[in-house]
Structures are given as structure tokens and as C-alpha cells.
């Protein structure tokens, strides 16, 4: 047995293709980023070694970078505080519906999560159009004219709009994952509680939520990952405007590299970005793991 399982040639055969792809596409670029980040490379002139200047500037004086990081926090908070409770409740109800209805709702609720980001971005730009967009038309129709907004131009509403778009886009996914979790709870536990006459609210808080803990953990991690990686929606809607109020780290990095031709600086953002991602991952793991142990 152990002889078969430590066959070196076999290991190499199984592992090398994956490792090579990983190195070529992910690891090498990261090393290149680190290299470029200590230069003033602009894509044309010969590059010069500038030490940690880029990092210093990025961390000490770049307000936009900090703004982008703040926005990432706001987005993750929005996802965790608004989207997740809704999708948990929704998942429980879909599970409860049973039979054909369960299947139908499962599909219907998931559909928006399948549309491509290009479509969702353009769709919401049109729906939020202040003059002819759906949102303001509906607000007017129900008499809330004073709520009508030029959503994408005000600093706060633009950010809110982007968070809402992301909540809508990801709702199906988070619902489906919670639904999977609910499905995983042994039916007899729920039935037993029902027979004891437990009310719905009680059933959810005392029986279902504790059982969902590991799923909640995954979903929260996913939410943070998604918020960090957020780029396309911003790129295709506000591109960071007004000012840089809706700037996100990934998009800022893209603008610096591809619009401003500050490759050296953009790569410094890359490196800091990766470090942030790894730290965020580490922290969420620690926090959620601790809770899991209690």
C-alpha cells in the first residue's frame, strides 16, 4: 500500500501539471509584481530602481487607496448585514415549501446570479437613470417623489447603489449555499422540535442557526473575498466617480496601471492588495474558528 502511494514518478505525474499552471499564471506574476513595485516602470522608458518609494507614497499619502479600502469594508458589511439574513430566511422558506414549489423557487431566485456582470452593470445603470430609470419611476408611482435621486452622482447614494447591486447579484448564490446548509440539517431534529410545538422563530434561532454555523462561516468568508475582488461592476458603472467616492481597490489598481501608466506604482498596489487579502482571510478564519469552538 504505502509503496504504491509513495511512487515518486506517479506523484510527479499527478501534481506537476497543476503546479506548473499555478506557477505560470499566478505565482510568477506575483513575483513580477513585487519586482516592478520597487521600480518606476511606466511601460516605455527604461525602469529605475526606486526602493520603497512607491509603498511609502501608497501608504502615507494616497487618500484614494484608503478610500478604496474603506469601500471594501462597507461592501462586505452590506453583504453580511443585509444580504445574509435575508438569504438565510429565504433558504429556510424555500426548504419548507417542499415538492415542485421548492424546485421552482430554487431556480427562480437563483436566476439573477447567473447574469453576467456586463449585463447586470448596464441593466442597473439604466434602471437607476434619474429621468427614465425604473427605480425613480416606481418611487414616483407610489408617491415617494421626494425619494427620487440621481443615484449615481451623489457620493453616498452612488455607494449605496453599488452595494445594492452587489446584494442583488449575489443573493441567489448566498441563498443557494444556505439552502444547502439547511438541507444538511437532519430532518428528525426539525421535526422533533415541531412536534414539541416550537414556534417558527424559536425553531430558526435555536435549532437551525446553530447548525448553520459552518455554512455561515463559509459564506462570510466568501462575502469578504467578493468585496475585496470587486471590480467589474464599478468599472462598468461609475468607474469610481463621483470623485473617487466609489473607488474599490481592484479598480483603482486597474486605473493606475492601464489609464495612468504608472506600472511601478500599480504593482505596489497589487502587492499591498494581496497582503490585505491574505490578512483578511487569516482574520476571518481566526474569528469564525473561535466562535465555532465555543
Amino acid at each position: 500500500m504505502s509503496k504504491v502511494l509513495s511512487n515518486k514518478k506517479m506523484i510527479a505525474l499527478l501534481v506537476l501539471p497543476g503546479i506548473i499552471i499555478f506557477c505560470l499564471v499566478i505565482l510568477v506574476p506575483i513575483f513580477m509584481s513585487v519586482f516592478y513595485s520597487v521600480t518606476d516602470y511606466n511601460g516605455i522608458d527604461a525602469m529605475k530602481f526606486v526602493g520603497l518609494t512607491n509603498y511609502k507614497k501608497l501608504i502615507m499619502d494616497d487618500k484614494i487607496m484608503w478610500l478604496s479600502i474603506r469601500n471594501v469594508f462597507i461592501l462586505s458589511a452590506g453583504l453580511i448585514i443585509i444580504q445574509h439574513p435575508l438569504s438565510i430566511v429565504c433558504a429556510i422558506y424555500v426548504d419548507k415549501a417542499g415538492g415542485v414549489w421548492e424546485k421552482i423557487f430554487r431556480v427562480l431566485i437563483f436566476i439573477p446570479s447567473m447574469t453576467s456582470v456586463v449585463v447586470t452593470a448596464k441593466l442597473w445603470m439604466n434602471m437607476l437613470d434619474p429621468t427614465f430609470g425604473l427605480v425613480n419611476k416606481i418611487l414616483k408611482a407610489v408617491g415617494l417623489t421626494s425619494w427620487c435621486q440621481a443615484w449615481m452622482t451623489e457620493t453616498t447614494t452612488a455607494l449605496i447603489a453599488i452595494v445594492l447591486i452587489e446584494i442583488w447579484v449575489g443573493f441567489g448564490w448566498s441563498m443557494l449555499i444556505y439552502y444547502a446548509g439547511v438541507k444538511g440539517i437532519p430532518a428528525d431534529q426539525i421535526d422533533a422540535a415541531r412536534i414539541d410545538g416550537a414556534a417558527d422563530g424559536h425553531l430558526i434561532t435555536k435549532i437551525i442557526l446553530p447548525q448553520l454555523k459552518p455554512i455561515i462561516r463559509i459564506n462570510i468568508t466568501l462575502a469578504i473575498v467578493n468585496a475585496l475582488k470587486m471590480m467589474e461592476t464599478v468599472y462598468l458603472t461609475t468607474n469610481g466617480a463621483p470623485g473617487n467616492a466609489t473607488q474599490f481597490v481592484a479598480n483603482y489598481l486597474y486605473v493606475k496601471a492601464f489609464s495612468d501608466q504608472k506600472y511601478g506604482y500599480a504593482n505596489a498596489i497589487s502587492v499591498v492588495f494581496i497582503v490585505i487579502c491574505l490578512i483578511a482571510n487569516f482574520i476571518t478564519k481566526q474569528i469564525t474558528a473561535e466562535r465555532g469552538e465555543k
Binding site: M1, V4, S6, I11, L14, V15, P17, G18, I19, F22, L24, V25, V28, P29, I30, M32, S33, C90, Y93, A97, W101, F105, R106, V107, F110, I111, P112, M114, T115, S116, V117, V118, V119, K122, L123, N126, M127, F132, L134, I138, W168, L176, I177, A180, K183, I215, I218, V225, K229, M231, E232, Y235, L253, Y254, A257, F258, F273, I274, C277, L278
Partner: protein, 279 residues
Amino acid sequence: MIAEKKKKWKRARLLILLSVVALLNLFPLVWLLDYSLLSNSDFYGDSIMKLPAPPLWSNYFSAIVDGKFFNYLLNSLFITGITIAVVITLSICLGYALIRMKWKGSRFVYTLLITGIMIPIHTTLLPNFFAFQAYGILNTRIALILPYIAFSMSLGLFIMSGFIEGIPRSLEEAAVMDGCGVLRIIKNVVIPLSKPAAVTVATMTFFNCWNEFIMAATYTSSDTIRTLPFAVMNFSGKYTSNYTVQFAVMFLSTVPAIIIFILFNKQMTKGIIAGAIKE
């Protein structure tokens, strides 16, 4: 009797509630479908929705012909299909070699590969653009398939390794007794038992690649290679203002994903459930 009625009423309430949620959730897409059948001037009217009478199918005609819809669709299918197949194969191979086989450094390699989940693709765009050019694969399908594989592989390995850990060792031992090598073990024991995980991996990979835009815009240039999101992009920007045709393209480009989901919905959900429980 009363209890029965109460139960029925409760169920009806539940279904109504869910219908409202589903409707709210789907409304933007319904709105999109509605306006994709109207004329441009209707969009600038006062009504929230309007019955298309008669529906302007010509919008869809322009979308398909001018938008080269089928060209992009085939490219998307091809690129996503290959990516899924490779990702599943790689994650099974890697998963088995890293979890079950005994060698120095397996822990290190596992951690390294799993870290890939946290790496944002955006940081690799520019270096990869240079690198792909050096390899001579810029503007080929490989330039999309390769990064798609790399970025889906980490998640695939993560899901797959959870499954492989759960396979009883006795099965493998029995296979070894029968004289099987590693490849046969994988073929006869691992693959049949990890089908649900494979479906999960396939689903995740599908959604990662199908709608991906920023890498496609950066690494490809010709329409013969580009994927579905470009059908929409070609109808936006300066000099274009025919919104309802743009809506038609947008709606069309979501249809394949919806069909695919409806077809595989059962397996996908099962796969996700299986993955979730394993967690």
C-alpha cells in the same frame, strides 16, 4: 379540521411570500425583457412597463446578426467546456496526490495552491499580459483557458480534497490488493465516489468563466475568440444609442446560462449541498 385549515393557510402564506421574493428578485430581468421588445422612444416614456404591441422582434434580429451572437456563444461554450474538464481532472489528480499520497512537501504544496483562492485576478493582469506575449499565446483561446484554469483550480482542489479525505481507506487497500496502481485507484475508486464534488467544481468553474470580462478584454483581441460579454459591450459606448437593441443583446446573453442552470439544476444543487455538508 381546523388544524388542517390552519396548516393549509400557513402553506399558502409561505408560497405567496416566496412568490413576492422571487418576483422582486426577477423584476429587473422582466423589465429588461419587456423593453428589449419595445422601441427606443418607449424607453423615454413615462410608463413603468408597457405591453409590447406588436413586439419588435427586429431588435433581436439586430442583436443576433450585428451582435454576432452565435459566434460569441460558441466561443463561450468551447472555452468554458475545456476549462471545466481540465479543472475537474486537475483537482482530482492534485487532490489525491496531496491528500493520500505520501511525500515530503505535500503539505506545503497544498497550502500554496489553496492560497490561490485569495489571490485577486486583477493583480496578475498586467504581468500576465507581458508573460503571455512572451509565450506567444496572446489572443489565442489558451490565453483565456489557462488563467481560467489556474483561478478555478484552487477552489476545485479545496472542494475535492474534502471529498477525497472522506473516502474510506479500506476501499483503496482492497484495490491495491487486487494489484491496482494509483491511476487505477483514481479511476475505479476516487472518481465514482467524488461525482457530487465534481459537479460542484464544474458549477463553480462554469460561473467563474462564463461571465468573466476583464481578463477576456485584456488577453484577447479578435472577435473570433472573444466570449459572450463582448456581444453586449459592442453595443455600448460612444456613437451608439440604440438602447432597446442593447437590451435585446443583454437578455439574449443571459438565456444560455439560464438554460444550462435549468438543465443541470438538480445536479448542481446536489453538488453544492454535498460540498456544504462536507464543510
